[in-house]
C-alpha cells in the first residue's frame, strides 16, 4: 500500500488511536471500555502504521518484540492477582489505595494494573499476529 495519502495520514492516525486506546483503557474502569478493547485499538493502530510504512518500521517503532510486550502484560496481570496474598484475601481480589496527587484523590487498584496487563497482552499478541501476516505479503 504505497499511496501518498495513506503514508501521510498514517502517523497522526496511529498516534491518535494510541492515545484513544489509553483513554478507553482507563475509562473501562467504571464505564464500558477496558484493557481488552483498548489493546485491540492500539494493535489496529500499529497495523495501520504497518500497512502504510511496512512491518520493519513498526518493529523499529515499538522497540520490543510483540511477544515480549505480551509477556510483560501477562506478568503484570498475574502479579496483580497475587498482590492480595499480603491482604489475607483470596487470589485476584481487588485491592484499592487512594493516594492524593497534587490535591486530587486518585483511586488506584490491582484491578487497574490487571487491566493494564490485559492491554499489553492484547497489544502484543494481536500486533504480533498482524505483523506476521502483513510481513508475508512482502515475501
Amino acid at each position: 500500500m504505497n499511496t501518498v495519502i495513506l503514508r501521510t495520514v498514517a502517523p497522526p492516525i496511529t498516534a491518535l488511536m494510541l492515545v484513544f486506546s489509553v483513554f478507553v483503557l482507563l475509562r473501562g474502569h467504571n464505564e464500558p471500555g477496558g484493557g481488552f478493547i483498548g489493546g485491540l485499538i492500539a494493535a489496529s493502530a500499529l497495523a495501520i502504521y504497518g500497512i502504510a510504512h511496512g512491518v520493519a518500521a513498526v518493529r523499529l517503532a515499538i522497540r520490543f518484540h510483540p511477544m515480549a510486550i505480551a509477556g510483560f502484560g501477562l506478568l503484570l496481570a498475574t502479579l496483580s492477582g497475587f498482590v492480595s496474598i499480603f491482604a489475607g484475601v483470596p487470589f485476584m481480589t481487588g485491592l484499592w489505595i487512594y493516594p492524593s496527587l497534587f490535591g486530587v484523590e486518585v483511586p488506584l487498584a490491582t484491578v487497574i494494573s490487571f487491566d493494564i496487563g490485559v492491554y499489553f497482552v492484547v497489544v502484543g499478541a494481536i500486533a504480533g499476529i498482524a505483523l506476521t501476516l502483513e510481513g508475508r505479503e512482502e515475501d
Binding site: 518484540h65 511477544m67 515480549a68 509477556g71 510483560f72 492477582g81 496474598i85
Partner: protein
C-alpha cells in the same frame, strides 16, 4: 469515583468474610508460578542462555508446590480458593481434591524430566522459537485443568494448553510438522468446541458452572432436561481430547512429528487431561448418566485398546508405534471409567498415573534409541544393546511396564481393572484388556529384538553421539519411578482408591467449596 461508600453495605451476602489462610494459596500457586515463569521467559526469549536457568528451577519448584499440595490434600482433605473473594458459586473456584492433586503432582514430575531432557534435545533455533515459554504455559494449562473447580474455567485451561501445544508442535516448521499440526489443530479445536457446546447446555440446565454446585444439583435432578444428550456430548468431546476410538485418528497423525521431547510431553500429559476431565464430569458430576452410557464407553474402550495395540504392531516408525501405545493406554483408562464403582475408578486413576510416567519415558527412550541407532525406523535400527547397554536396560523396564508385565508399575492398574471387570461380569472387557496387553507385548518385544538385540544392519548410518547427563538423568529417573512403584505399589494403590472414593462421593469436595451450605 469517590472513596469507600459511606452507606454501610452488607458484604457478607456476596463476599467471603473469613480471612484466607496462607496454605489455601497452594491451590493457585502452581498455576500462578507457571504463568509468571512463562511470562518472564517470553520477555527474555532472545537471551537463550537464561532459558534453562529459569525453566528448570521453575519446574522443580512446581514439583515442590504440587507435592506440598498433595501432602495437604492427603492429610486435610480437599480445599478451595475462590478467586476475587466472591462466595461460590459466583466466583471461579479452584478446588484441589486427591484426584486432581495426584494428577498435578505426577504431571509436574514428568514435566521436570522432560524439561531437563530438553536442555540438550532442543537446539538454539527451537529455543529462540520459544520452547521453554510454551512449556511453562502448557504446564499452566495442564495444572489449571487438574485444579480448577469450575467447568467453564476447565474449558479455558484446555484452550491454554491447546494453544501452547500448537506452538510446541510446529517448533521447527518442517513439512511433516505442518502436516501433522494442521490435523491436530483442527480436530482438537473441534473437540474443545464440542466441550464448549456442552458447557452452554449445562449452564442452560443448571444455571451454574461451579462443579461442586452442579454435583449437588445433578444428584437429585428431577427436571425434564435431556441430561443424557448433555453427557453424551461431554463424552464425545473428552474422548476426542483423550484420543479414544473412534475419534483417535489425529493422534497417530501428529504425535510423531515434533521434537521427541515434545512428543513425550504430549503423550504423557495431553491425553490424560482429556481422561481426567471425562472422569471428573462423568464420575463426579453425572454418576447416573455414566451408568447409562457405560456400555458405549466400554465398547469405545475395548476398541481403543485392541486397535491401539494392533496399530502399534503394524508400525515400523518407533514414534508412531508409541502413539498407538498411548491410545491403547487410553483404552484401559476408559475401561475403568466404564466399569465404575470404587474399584473400576481407582484402577482408571492408577492407570492414568502410571501412563503419564510410562508414556513420557517411552518417548524419551525412543529419542535415546534413535540417538544411539541413528534412525527412527525398525528397518535400519539395530545393535543398541551393544552400543548403549543402559538404554537397552531402560527399554526393558519401560517395555514391560507399557505392556503391563510384572514386576513394573504397569501390572497393578491392570490387575485392579481386570478384577473390577470380572466383578461386574464384563468378561469381554477383561478379555480385551488381556488381548491388548498381549499384542503390545508382541509389538514391544519385536522392537527390543530388532532395534536392540540384533546386530546393526549393514549399510545403516552409524552416528553415535555421546550421551550426556541431561539426557540420561530424566530417563533413569522415570525408570526408577516405574521400578519403585512396580515393587512397592501400596502407596499409589491406596491413594488412587481414596481418590476414587472422593470422586464417587464428592461430599468432602462440596463441603470444601460450600463450608456453610453456600450462597442462596
Amino acid at each position: 469515583m469517590a472513596a469507600p461508600t459511606t452507606a454501610p453495605i452488607d458484604l457478607s451476602a456476596a463476599y467471603l468474610m473469613a480471612p484466607t489462610a496462607l496454605a489455601d494459596w497452594l491451590v493457585i500457586a502452581p498455576i500462578g508460578l507457571m504463568i509468571l515463569l512463562g511470562a518472564v521467559l517470553m520477555m527474555v526469549r532472545h537471551r537463550l542462555h537464561l532459558h534453562g536457568w529459569i525453566a528448570i528451577p521453575g519446574l522443580a519448584a512446581l514439583v515442590l508446590l504440587d507435592g506440598m499440595l498433595l501432602w495437604r490434600v492427603v492429610h486435610h482433605g480437599p480445599f478451595t480458593m475462590t478467586a476475587g473473594r466472591w462466595l461460590p458459586p459466583f466466583g471461579i473456584s479452584f478446588t484441589a481434591d486427591l484426584f486432581g492433586a495426584l494428577m498435578a503432582f505426577v504431571a509436574a514430575v514428568v514435566a521436570l524430566a522432560a524439561g531437563i531432557y530438553a536442555l540438550r534435545d532442543i537446539d538454539a533455533s527451537g529455543r529462540r522459537y520459544g520452547f521453554f515459554p510454551f512449556l511453562m504455559l502448557l504446564m499452566a494449562g495442564v495444572t489449571g485443568a487438574f485444579l480448577t473447580g469450575d467447568i467453564f474455567n476447565l474449558y479455558v485451561w484446555f484452550e491454554v494448553l491447546l494453544i501452547s501445544s500448537f506452538g510446541l508442535l510446529i517448533l521447527g516448521s518442517e513439512r511433516e510438522q505442518v502436516d501433522g499440526a494442521l490435523k491436530y489443530a483442527i480436530l482438537n479445536l473441534l473437540g474443545t468446541t464440542l466441550f464448549l457446546i456442552a458447557v452452554g447446555y449445562l449452564y442452560a440446565i443448571f444455571g451454574t458452572l461451579n462443579m461442586a454446585d452442579i454435583a449437588r444439583q445433578a444428584g437429585d435432578y428431577h427436571g425434564t432436561a435431556p441430561l443424557m444428550t448433555l453427557t453424551a456430548l461431554f463424552v464425545l468431546a473428552f474422548a476426542m481430547k483423550a484420543a479414544a476410538f473412534p475419534v483417535n485418528f489425529w493422534l497417530p497423525a501428529s504425535y510423531h512429528t515434533p521434537r521427541i521431547v515434545v512428543s513425550a510431553l504430549f503423550g504423557g500429559l495431553l491425553t490424560k487431561v482429556g481422561v481426567y476431565a471425562l472422569m471428573r464430569v462423568m464420575v463426579m458430576l453425572f454418576p447416573l448418566q455414566r451408568e447409562d452410557l457405560s456400555l458405549v464407553i466400554a465398547v469405545s474402550a475395548a476398541l481403543s485398546m485392541v486397535l491401539g495395540a494392533l496399530g502399534a504392531l503394524a508400525q515400523s516408525d518407533l514414534r508412531r508405534m508409541a502413539g498407538f501405545a498411548v491410545i491403547a493406554g487410553i483404552g484401559n483408562v476408559m475401561a475403568g471409567v466404564a466399569i465404575g464403582g470404587p474399584t473400576g475408578v481407582s484402577g482408571a486413576i492408577l492407570y492414568a498415573l502410571h501412563s503419564i510416567v510410562t508414556m513420557t519415558a517411552l518417548y524419551l527412550l525412543i529419542g535415546e534409541a534413535a540417538r544411539v541407532g541413528g534412525s527412527w525406523s525398525l528397518q535400519t535400527l539395530g545393535g543398541i544393546y551393544r552400543k548403549a547397554p543402559w538404554v537397552a536396560a531402560s527399554a526393558f523396564v519401560i517395555f514391560f511396564a507399557t505392556a503391563g508385565l510384572p514386576p513394573f508399575s504397569g501390572l497393578w492398574p491392570k490387575i485392579v481393572l481386570l478384577k473390577a471387570a470380572l466383578d461386574i461380569g464384563a468378561w469381554w472387557l477383561s478379555a480385551s484388556i488381556l488381548f491388548s496387553a498381549f499384542i503390545l507385548t508382541l509389538a514391544l518385544g519385536r522392537v527390543f529384538l530388532l532395534a536392540f538385540w540384533r546386530p546393526q544392519p549393514a549399510g545403516a548410518a552409524v552416528t553415535v553421539t555421546t550421551g550426556t547427563v541431561e539426557r540420561s538423568a530424566p530417563l533413569v529417573g522415570l525408570v526408577a519411578i516405574i521400578v519403585f512403584f512396580g515393587l512397592f505399589p501400596e502407596l499409589p494403590v491406596r491413594l488412587s482408591q481414596e481418590a476414587a472414593i472422593g470422586l464417587a462421593d464428592p461430599t468432602a469436595y462440596i463441603q470444601s467449596v460450600f463450608p456453610t451450605g453456600g450462597a442462596e
